[in-house]
Symmetry: C2
Subunit: 204 residues, 2 copies
DNA sequence: GTCTATATTTCGATAGAC
DNA sequence: GTCTATCGAAATATAGAC
């Protein structure tokens, strides 16, 4: 066990970032003390300051991990999408299912980071890059599907991705406050309408 | 000047709520001290606690004002809407124009309150009511237009309102980080698609 | 590299004068 | 109803031991 040093270091880093993701989502960045984050990670504020220089440095590190993680899992989900309908359903469920491991924590952290980014230019620039990547991934996935099935999409992939992402985000926020107001079928129909597909009705 | 008492009281209330709306939007609820709010309102923490019992009571009062104000101005905008396209354009501009008086402060406060409501059941319930009202107003306005022009909307007014509100909110959040990614024409086209109107292209 | 202990500041909230 | 003064609690950040 000669590499205990580096192991311990990177594990502490990971533990602190995970704890920050959880607590920032549940209580908000300003609603959590650096000590509370360190406690949740079974470390102390000394370690936190040694690694990240402070609470804000921890948030910046979290932002990078968050960026890679979301874009990566999105790309994975897209690669095995038979059609937009089931694709949208899968995305919607991944956003709205409440508990399991983390569940609606994703949405809370997403909005928390957006709010931080809207107030802080540096974080805002990072977030803008991340959203652009998501729009691109999302739009390309749908464009691939369209090309494979001979469907004609009315907009460019990036534009399509932006509209879909926007609708998903805004609808998820409403769903979080009142789930009954946003049934899954409504989301799927609406997103299909955004693509120019008139997949409404479909009564037996 | 016999009613100086009541005047001073209600003016202090209004000043504190206005200052709270501004500061909560710019810095976030937890990012602002009660003293900072009182200072911005040219009052002291004593007055704040006398009126609202604390910072959280001030937020609840702000929420009520916010609720009435937004629904009211929305209803006003709807009553004079010639068609969905110009209607959407007007709504989009009212969300995205940057300064003037308050401008993107609306979006920041909206999201700040949402985040608070997602974490606090009491505030969440109030917010849910507000969103339901907005969905209803929005959907009814569009349904009226459809009835007047003989257009058939594929969904109920509430469902339509929910999709439109969601798309507007999510797109506005992306716009705030990167305006170029969300041009107005894209929003109008997308929302039209949500309604089942195929208003795409329209090349000369 | 991490922990304990602490210095310094700031916050929320209250008591009492006016 | 509002202001001044202030108390106790909690937060950030650091210094030094291990």
């Amino acid at each position: 066990m000669a590499r205990t040093q580096a192991e311990r270091k990177s594990e502490t880093r990971a533990r602190l970032i995970d704890a920050a993701a959880d607590l920032f989502a549940r209580k908000g960045f300003h609603g959590v003390s650096a000590e509370a984050v360190a406690d949740a990670a079974d470390r102390t504020t000394g370690a936190l300051y040694s690694h990240f220089g402070g609470k804000e440095g921890l948030l910046l590190a979290l932002l990078e991990v968050w960026k890679e993680r979301t874009v990566g899992q999105l790309a994975g989900a897209l690669s095995r999408a038979p059609d937009p309908g089931t694709h949208f359903a899968a995305m919607w469920q991944s956003i709205t299912r409440p508990a399991e491991d983390r569940g609606d924590a994703w949405l809370l952290l997403e909005v928390e980071l957006w709010l931080y980014g809207a107030r802080d230019p540096l974080v805002g620039a990072r977030l803008a890059e991340r959203y652009a990547e998501i729009r691109a991934e999302l739009g390309e996935g749908l464009a691939d599907w369209a090309a494979a099935t001979g469907t004609v999409l009315p907009r460019s992939p990036e534009e399509t991705g932006g509209l879909v992402l926007g609708a998903l985000l805004g609808c998820a926020m409403q769903y979080r406050l009142e789930p009954r107001a946003m049934p899954q079928q409504l989301i799927i129909d609406g997103l299909s309408g955004l693509l120019g597909l008139s997949t409404r009705g479909a009564e037996p």
